[in-house]
Structure formats: C-alpha cells, structure tokens
C-alpha cells in the first residue's frame, strides 16, 4: 500500500499532466477558431487550473489516503469535455461550463468536509431513498419540462436542472445501506417457483419498488435510457449483495417486458428504435435520424487521427454539447481521441471497483460499487447511443457533457468514492485487528 504522501505527489504529477492536456486542447481550439479570443479564454484556463489545484489541496487536507487516480482522470475528461464544449460555443456554453466546474469542485470539497465517515450515510438511508424517489419523479409533475421528447428537466425561471442525476446518488446510498443490512435475508430463498428460488416477498419489496420506479420514469418522463440506467444499477447491486444471478435474469426479463410495453405505447420510443435500426434511410435521415446520422458522419469524418481540434464541423450535430460531445471528440481527435476517452472511463471505473473491493464493510463495498457502476453504465449507455450500438437516449456523458446537474452530481460521486478510498487505506483492517466495525461485517 502506498503511503498517503506518495499517493498525493503521484496525484499531483498526474494532475499536472491531465491539466496540460486539457488546457492545451483548449488553447488549440482557441487558435483554430480565432486567436483574438485568447484574451477571453486565458482566464478560463487559469480558472480551470485553480479549480483542480483547490481540489487537490482539498484532498490533501480531507482525504489524504484516497486513490490518486480519481482526480487526474476526472480532470482529463473534464478538460477534454470543456475544450469540446468551448469549441462549439466559446461565448456562452464554454464559460458557463467552467463556472460549473468551479461549483463542482466546491461541492466536491464540501462533500469531503460534510461526509467525514461514509458509514454515517447509512443512518440516513430512508431519508435519502425518499429524496431520491422524489427527485426522480419531480420532472413528471407540472414542474417538469420536456426537452427533445424526454421529460427529465426541472425549470425554475431560466434555470433548468436534471434532478435524475442527483437522484441516482441518493438511491445508490439507500440501496447500499438496505442491501448491506438484509443481504442474508434476500439471499435466503424461502419459496421456490419453478426452478428459481425466491426470498420472502417482504424482503423483495425494494426490487418491486425499483421496477415500478423505472417504469414510471419511462412512462412519465419518456426516457428509456434513464429507466435502463436505474434498473441496471439496482440489479447489479442486488447481484453483488446476494450473488444470485437468477435475480438479475428475472429482473432483466421483467425490464424487457416493461420496455416492450413502452415501445408499443410511445411513438417517441418507436422512432428512436427505428432510427437505431435504419439511420441512413432517406426517410429518416433528414428528420428523426438527423442527429444520430450527423454524429456518425462526425465520427467517420474523424477517422483515425481526426481533423484536428477546431478543424472539423461538429457544429452540424444538433445538441453536440450535451449528449453528443463524444462525437465532437471523434471528429476532431479521431479514433485515437475516442479510444483515449474510453480508456480513461475504463480506468476510472476500474479504480472505483478497486475501491469497492478494498472497502472495510458491506455498506462500503456496496456503496462504492453502486456509485461506480452507475457511473460506468451511464457512460456505456450514452456512448453506445452515440455510436449506434443501442437506441439513443438522452443522458449525459459524465464530466464531458455540458450541464451543471451532471457535473455537480459526478463531483459528489467522486468525493464519496474518495472518502471510501481514504477510509480503506487509513483505517486498520478489521480482519487483522479482530475489531468489528459499525455498519456490517466482512
């Protein structure tokens, strides 16, 4: 195990490298577009560097033993995303995204300050679970706004917020605590239906609640992607807790049934599927399929090396700055750029799962695993949509897409992972000391 100080200096050098890449990308964008805007871009670069310096100092003070790759990988993805967003809109989205990054870092540090011991979170599981459900369903109420056919937004004045992003974290905490408490009960099969053993229905409650919830998301908010995301987070956590692959299979079947009903019910979902299957159909390509087709054109035009930052035409993709920011990278940095981004996400997911493996309690393991799985699955769903592996759904690419709610939630997520990771390294292993820690056993 690395010493805390060694981890931090390693983090610092990697962070510097990541920021050089991020700021360098930003500088290239500025030069390619119009060298005169350098004066307005320079403060943004300085702000970005300062924000991550603050995050680094925050970690040194608050979680010195935490994983040293979380922050540099975050900075790299964030920096590349920022360059892409800035490239699309240097006057509005670009500066706003920097502001959100600063707010995100503040929230990151604040989370580390508030959550000194992640196990405390388990105590608030019902409050958090309830909050999560509320946040998730809020857009379905009259407060919600429909954007691009999906009702995922809350609009208060000119300010819009995607509460689903934060709901995700609340629900992961709830399930981690709930499952840590009852995993034996859930794993113990008291009933047998055909060849599958099921636990008592009262322990199965959360599964049903979750299933209903994700269907509600699909029906009222018309978004298959978020629905899939929530359901898969829960199934994976259930599997980790109980080791019963059968639950996962049953869950998937149930989800598939729900998805089919959604497909039959909503023309919006049918169109998404039709576009996915046949995007280059002349009937679809200029209307419903336009966005996905433009995304594929961007990626294909990028080829292996890309056109170079600021040299392509990713502005042709509608909403490129949110869901399709990956296609912007694909056009201007080519397969080399997209592969690098995919590898960064893979590394982050890998680090997250390592943290989960190292957690000293069931709750810690489930929490870290749930958080990083939600992060990873969300990434895979949107990437798969943009490159036409799955029907397109409107969820954001973590740390890269434009948008405050997404950025803030993912900073909270990273802070929680850093907290778990810090406690893994700084606390004595109960197996070695024989001490039993609050919140569960190994």
């Amino acid at each position: 195990m690395m010493q805390a100080s060694a981890r931090r200096s390693s983090e610092l050098s990697l962070l510097i490298l990541a920021l050089i890449l991020g700021v360098g990308a930003l500088a290239l964008v500025v030069l390619a577009r119009d060298a005169d805007i350098l004066a307005t871009a320079a403060p943004l670069m300085v702000t970005l560097i300062a924000a991550y310096a603050a995050a680094h100092i925050g970690i040194r003070k608050l979680a010195p033993s935490s994983d040293h790759l979380l922050l540099p990988l975050t900075a790299l993805l964030n920096g590349l995303g920022l360059a892409a967003v800035y490239r699309l809109d240097p006057s509005d989205y670009g500066p706003t995204q920097v502001t959100w990054t600063v707010v995100g870092v503040v929230v990151f540090i604040a989370t580390l300050v508030v959550v000194r011991d992640y196990r405390v979170l388990a105590r608030y599981k019902y409050i958090l679970g309830f909050t999560g459900i509320l946040l998730l369903l809020l857009p379905a109420t009259p407060l919600g706004t429909e954007i691009n056919g999906a009702r995922l937004w809350l609009r208060v004045g000119s300010f819009s917020f995607q509460p689903g992003e934060l709901a995700k974290i609340c629900l992961v905490i709830f399930f981690a605590a709930y499952l840590a408490e009852r995993k034996e009960l859930l794993a113990f099969a008291s009933r047998r239906i055909w060849r599958i053993h099921f636990p008592d229905i009262k322990h199965f409650g959360p599964l049903l609640v979750m299933w209903i919830l994700s269907l509600a998301v699909m029906f009222f908010e018309k978004d298959l992607g978020s629905s899939l995301l929530f359901f898969s987070i829960f199934l994976v956590m259930l599997y980790i807790a109980t080791a019963r692959i059968a639950y996962m299979l049953v869950g998937l079947l149930v989800f598939a049934a729900g998805a089919y009903v959604g497909y039959v019910t909503f023309s919006h979902v049918q169109l998404r599927v039709a576009v996915w299957l046949d995007v280059f159909n002349p009937k679809l390509i200029s209307d419903e399929g336009y966005q996905l087709a433009q995304s594929l054109f961007a990626l294909a035009t990028g080829g292996l090396f890309g056109t170079g930052l600021g040299q392509g035409r990713p502005d042709l993709i509608p909403a490129a700055h949110t869901d399709f920011v990956f296609a912007v990278i694909g056009e201007e940095l080519g397969l080399l750029g997209t592969a690098a981004v995919v590898v960064c996400f893979m590394f982050l997911v890998g680090r997250g799962l390592r943290i989960a493996l190292g957690a000293r309690s069931d709750f810690g393991q489930l929490l870290a695993a749930g958080l990083i799985v939600s992060f990873g699955v969300q990434t895979i769903i949107i990437l798969a949509g943009v490159i036409r592996l799955l029907p397109l759904t409107g969820i954001t690419l973590p740390f890269m897409s434009y948008g405050g709610s997404s950025l803030l939630s993912n900073f909270v997520l990273m802070a929680l992972l850093a907290r778990v990771s810090h406690q893994n390294a700084s606390e004595p292993d109960p197996a070695l000391t024989g001490e039993i820690l609050i919140g569960g056993r190994r």
């Binding site: 390619a32 060298a35 994976v236 599997y239 980790i240 807790a241 080791a243 280059f280 390509i285 200029s286 087709a293 594929l296 054109f297 990626l299 294909a300 035009t301 990028g302 080829g303 292996l304 600021g310 040299q311 392509g312 035409r313 042709l316 694909g330 080519g334 397969l335 997209t338 592969a339 995919v342 996400f345 893979m346 997911v349 890998g350 799962l353 989960a356 493996l357 069931d362 393991q365 489930l366 695993a369 799985v373 990873g376 699955v377 895979i380 990437l383 798969a384 490159i387 036409r388 592996l389």
Partner: protein
C-alpha cells in the same frame, strides 16, 4: 461480495470493449462509406469556405467571382457574365454540383493544384482566408457580345476560333441561361429555376448546342468531301463530273436531286471547283458513293466519331460507316445529310483546319491559370490534334471557298477589303420542318486570323425560306468584322 464485484468488473470491461469495437467500425472500417453519404455536407462546406477563384475573359473582364456572405456557406458564386457566358462558365450549385469550366477547372479554382506557395502554408495554419486561383479564358468579351447580338433572337450557335492556336474567341449558343440563380444558397430557388429550364429536354437552355449537340451539317460538309477527294489523288478541282437533273441511287429506284431540282450547269458536266462554289449536290453525292473509305478517314482525322478534346464536355460528331447493302446512304453522307451530324464546334474546327494548312488545331477555352498575386501558374499550350490533309489540299480548298464568298452561295459574307473563304449549308431536318442554316468560314483567306461556324436552327427569322447564305453568313460576317476591329488586322 468480492467475487461478484470482480464479475461486474469483467462485465463492464466487456461492455467498454464492445464500444471500442464499434468505434473501430464507425471510424475506420465503415468510415468511408458513412462519410460519403449525400447527407454529410462536410466536404461541401469545406469547399464553400474557400474563396473560389475568378473566371475572366481574355481581356480581363470577370465573368464569375465569389463574394463573402454571412450564411453558413461562406462564399456566394456570382456571375457578372450572366447568360452570355452561361455555357462557358457553367454553374456552381449546392444541389446540382458544377458544370463546364466550374467543373473541369474546379481544382484550380479551389487552389488545390499547382505548387505550394507561402500563402498556402499561411492558410493551413489559419483556416480562414484560403483563396483559389483564377482562370483566364481565351474568349474575348467584345467578340462574345457581337456573336450573341448577331444571332439575335434566333436559336443557334456561333463558334469563333483562332485557326493557328485553336483558342476559342467566342462561343455562344441561344437559348442560354443565367448560372447565378443555380448557384445561390437557396435550395428552393435553385430547384425552381432549374425546373424552369426543362432540364430533361434535349432543347434545354442548360445545354450548349455549340458543343453538346450535333446537327446535320448539310453542304458545309462538302468541304470535307472535297478534301477527301483531293487527298485521294484521284480528283483535282478541274476533275469533271456528270451533271444530271437527278442522280439515280444504286440498289433502289430513288433519285437524289439538287437543291434547285435542276442540273447545276445545264451543260451535262461540272468540274469539282464549280460544284463546290455552287454547292452542287449530285457531284458530292457521287463522291460520297465513290470514296466512302477516304471520306470516313478524313472526317475522323478532323475529329468526327469521337468527342473533341476540349476544356468543357463535348458531344461526338458522327460520320457513318455505311454497309454495302445500304449504299444509297453514302450519297447522302457525301452532302452532309443522312447519318452525318456535327456540332458547331466541330464545323468551326473544319474551317480552322483549312485555314491552318491541314493541321487540326486543338480547340481550347482556357488561356492560363493565375494565382492570387497574378502570376501564371499553369499555361495551356497544346499540340495540334494532327494533320487531316496536306497543305496543298488546304490551299486548293481555300481557293475554292474564297470563290464561294466571292461569286457563289456565300456572297452575304463579303467584307470590303477582306478576302473571306467560306461554305454555306442548308441542312434538311425532319419532314416539314424548316432547314438548319449553316455557314463556316475563315478570314483573311491569305493569312487566316479567325475561323467561324454559325448554325441557325430551323431557318431562324426566315423559316422555311432560309438558306445558309441568307441567314447564317451575315452572322459570321459580323463576327469577322468585329474580330478585325478588335485585333486590328
């Protein structure tokens, strides 16, 4: 739980690998296929972001230029030359691509050819300010103007070229069109204008009849027949031919009569010289029957049966290979009827070849390509297409054609102080339609400076009363006079 977390990890890795595989497919393996989809307008946008070079006349009048705009296509193509140059410049359209010089010189106009200059290096660093090269035509603006005016409202074509270099000095075809509306950025407007031009009709104004459509050349083709006869060594200008009122055609009971329905001289015989001056059909029908191979060879050497090499697309002129069992058709071929068809450009080239001593000049429309600073980076100098007949034959033909204008069917082309050599043609078309009036000529006969072909379709203003001498010759005369005035010869 650790075992489950490890399995989940492998599951996620697998998902990321599938994403990576699909990325390889989209960005590498299927990339060309995907990117070449018509709905991907990236290459179009990149092209429109370049300031395309000007197209200008020999006397530096700009006929096509690009102007900066505020829309997403950064430059708009404008055509100060308008309809007058429509068939030369062609258009540059978002929907229909490009045509004519805009098409064949696209690389140069976009600045993608030639040597890399310091400007190019600067451009590659700052992606703005790219500028293409200018194309200078061989066409003289004043002569082009005169050609159009002389033709007036009549449908037809005028082609004037320098017989020694093959440079086209004027090339006009009526009806014509304005490339401007086809080159706007308003797709609705583009479609509507193109539709108004009846794009699928063979008579569409989009088509330059000077180069892209062939017509029966009628008696102007007798110049070619005479050339073949003299080249064969079996005939001279004084060779005597029978002069019947009607020529019996082999294999049938049909006869071929002269234009006037009488014999040409009334003496029972006629020499070749007089036959050409008077445009005696029976004489050339006899030659067509007797010299099918020689005639086909001469026509081929002049450019028939293949599209002429040119700076813009051309249709092939045709001279048929008549099988023995259809022998009568050879008689019609000898007088430029039947299956013989020629573009006005081809007939101008026939006149130019006689003027050029038998060497067929390679016709060209572009003088040079110049970069933004004005220095010439590409010069068009091409070798002649070959020799069609000897200098001696050319000399005899010149003598005969001079007499056509001096005392034959082409007197309307006479110019004070200038010896014009020419040949008229009045070509039968379909039953009941007025004939096409032709005139091909060059001047001055002794030291040719300009060769002209004029076609007035369906008789023009005179309709069925038209002859080449009455309708087409005055147009050619106006062009020669204008060239003489412009170049002061």
């Amino acid at each position: 739980m650790q075992a489950q977390i490890r399995r989940v990890a492998w599951g996620l890795v697998a998902a990321f690998l599938i994403v990576f595989a699909q990325l390889n497919y989209v960005q590498i393996f299927a990339a060309e296929d995907i990117a070449s989809n018509d709905s991907n307008i990236r290459s179009l946008l990149a092209e429109y972001a370049i300031k395309r070079g000007d197209i200008e006349t020999l006397d530096f009048e700009t006929v096509a230029r690009s102007r900066k705009t505020q829309d997403r296509f950064q430059y708009l193509r404008a055509y100060p030359g308008g309809e007058l140059y429509g068939h030369i410049t062609g258009y540059y359209s978002l929907i229909y691509g490009s045509d004519r010089i805009e098409s064949t010189y696209s690389e140069q106009l976009l600045g993608e050819s030639g040597v890399i200059s310091m400007q190019d290096i600067q451009d590659s660093f700052l992606s703005s300010g790219e500028r293409g090269d200018d194309v200078r035509l061989t066409v003289h603006s004043q002569l082009q103007q005169v050609a159009a005016e002389a033709l007036g409202g009549q449908e037809g074509s005028v082609v004037a070229l320098d017989p020694s270099s093959g440079e086209v000095r004027a090339m006009y075809s009526n009806p014509t069109y304005d490339p401007g509306p086809l080159s706007t950025h308003d797709t609705e407007k583009i479609r509507a204008y193109r539709q108004s031009l009846q794009p699928n009709s063979p008579d569409s104004p989009l088509l330059s009849k000077a180069t892209s459509r062939s017509f029966p050349p009628g008696s102007t083709f007798k110049v070619v027949t005479t050339a073949a006869a003299l080249e064969s060594g079996r005939f001279t200008p004084t060779s005597s031919f029978p002069d019947p009122e009607a020529l019996d055609l082999p294999l049938t009971d049909n006869t071929l009569t002269n234009f006037t329905n009488t014999s040409c001289t009334g003496t029972g015989s006629i020499d070749l010289f007089t036959a050409l001056v008077q445009s005696c059909d029976t004489t050339f029908a006899i030659l067509g029957l007797r010299l099918p191979e020689e005639l086909r060879r001469t026509a081929g050497a002049l450019g028939f049966n293949e599209p002429l090499p040119f700076d813009v697309g051309t249709a092939a002129s045709t001279f048929p290979d008549v099988p023995d069992d259809q022998e009568p058709l050879r008689a019609f071929a000898g007088i430029g009827q039947g299956d013989v068809a020629a573009t006005p450009l081809q007939m101008a080239l026939v006149a130019a070849t006689v003027a050029n001593g038998g060497q067929v000049p390679r016709p060209q429309l572009v003088r040079e390509v110049r970069d933004a600073s004005g220095s010439v980076i590409e010069q068009q100098r091409s070798a002649p297409l070959g020799r069609a007949f000897s200098a001696a034959t050319a000399q005899e033909l010149t003598r005969m054609m001079t007499s056509v204008v001096a005392e034959g069917t082409g007197t309307a082309a006479q110019i004070d102080g200038v010896e014009v050599a020419g040949k008229t043609g009045t070509a039968q078309t379909v039953e009941g339609a007025a004939p096409h009036a032709w005139f091909i000529c060059f001047a001055p006969a002794s030291n040719p400076r300009i060769a002209v072909a004029v076609l007035v379709e369906n008789g023009g203003e005179l309709g069925s009363e038209a002859t080449g001498g009455a309708v087409a010759a005055p147009v050619a005369k106006a062009v020669i006079e204008a060239d003489r005035r412009i170049r002061q010869w």
